[in-house]
Symmetry: C2
Subunit: 200 residues, 2 copies
Amino acid sequence: MRDVILAEATDLFAEHGYDGTSLNDIAAGVGIKRPSLLHHFPSKDDLYGEVFEQMLSHWLERVEAAMALPGSGWDRFSDVLSAGFELFAEHPSYVRLMRREALDGGSRLGIDLVGVVSPLFNTAVEWIDAEIAAGRFREVDARQVLITAYAALLGYVSDAPFINGLLGHDALSERPMHERCEHLLDLFRRLLLPATDVIL
Amino acid sequence: MRDVILAEATDLFAEHGYDGTSLNDIAAGVGIKRPSLLHHFPSKDDLYGEVFEQMLSHWLERVEAAMALPGSGWDRFSDVLSAGFELFAEHPSYVRLMRREALDGGSRLGIDLVGVVSPLFNTAVEWIDAEIAAGRFREVDARQVLITAYAALLGYVSDAPFINGLLGHDALSERPMHERCEHLLDLFRRLLLPATDVIL
DNA sequence: AGCGACCTACCAACCAGTAGGTAGGACTTT
DNA sequence: AAAGTCCTACCTACTGGTTGGTAGGTCGCT
């Protein structure tokens, strides 16, 4: 039951935000009443906290697995980007949740979003700088590249309802997602690789 | 007084969202009581509607002005991008408001966000395609490029509280904003221009 | 008997919105 | 000039409804 509640809460918090989701909504979604829900989770804050922690741990798990893969240079960058994209395609709710938290400054709870992501961010910055030093990447501002990657990946998925309207079809279905991924890979290849290596 | 309320409401809706902002908060922010606020605006929905319409009209005004500028090819793209960036730098609240609305599907009110933005989007797609046909741009998927521009521009500003934490300094102050703009210009130059024109 | 899962019934706090009244400035009428 | 009439901007006090959370009881299973 806990897991069912957690899943329903993840969807609703992602869809309508913390303030836009009532415990009644979540309880009704799993077919019980609010007090029964509060039997499993002590408070709304705690429930949200668990939702967010679960999301973060799934996310970290994937990213760390992708970063642990062997390889260097463009292949490695491409692997990590694809892994992130794949996770987001599987769990759009995670993206929307993350975006909402980032909008609110990532400090709704005791959870320190920045504290969790910062080490990963810095590791990635150092890796890119090392690749530049090794001559495998162009001289770019690693931080800017990573922020662009973050924004371009998240934006497409988090704003899917809006982008659906612009494109006239479901942005999250398989083919559009694949095209989006190809576009991003092409984009970062052009951004990162020396001009001589870009031409395919 | 109406304008003061509108400005305060814009900030609070942008910062905490529709559900996270009470009429009491807004009224207190301008130093009056809720009923006095409702003397100027008939309801919370109406107030939000005016806030959003004002934001949209400011935004459209700027973009249309930038699109009306002469020039073609990269110079024109660069002008429009810079104009957008400048507006966002001046009014970060607009970006956060827009992002929240995009997250919610852009249909909180009668305002049809997609309906307003779609014509602009399609005009831009056609323009890029024409530039490609004229040989001034590479063969790219215009829609993907525009969505990336949208995401990369908005993401940096809307998630500023989070990005502040990653970078360790104020992402919205003048120098970082300038660096961000330069990075984006470089990015899209590499993405859009034929390989032979990219090298500076 | 004990325990986990669920319930109804309640609470205080807050929400958007309404009713009705007051102070003061402006504009007309005498 | 004085008096009466409006109007705008604000107020206090209230309504009905929803919120998160609690108290206490019931059911079925081990």
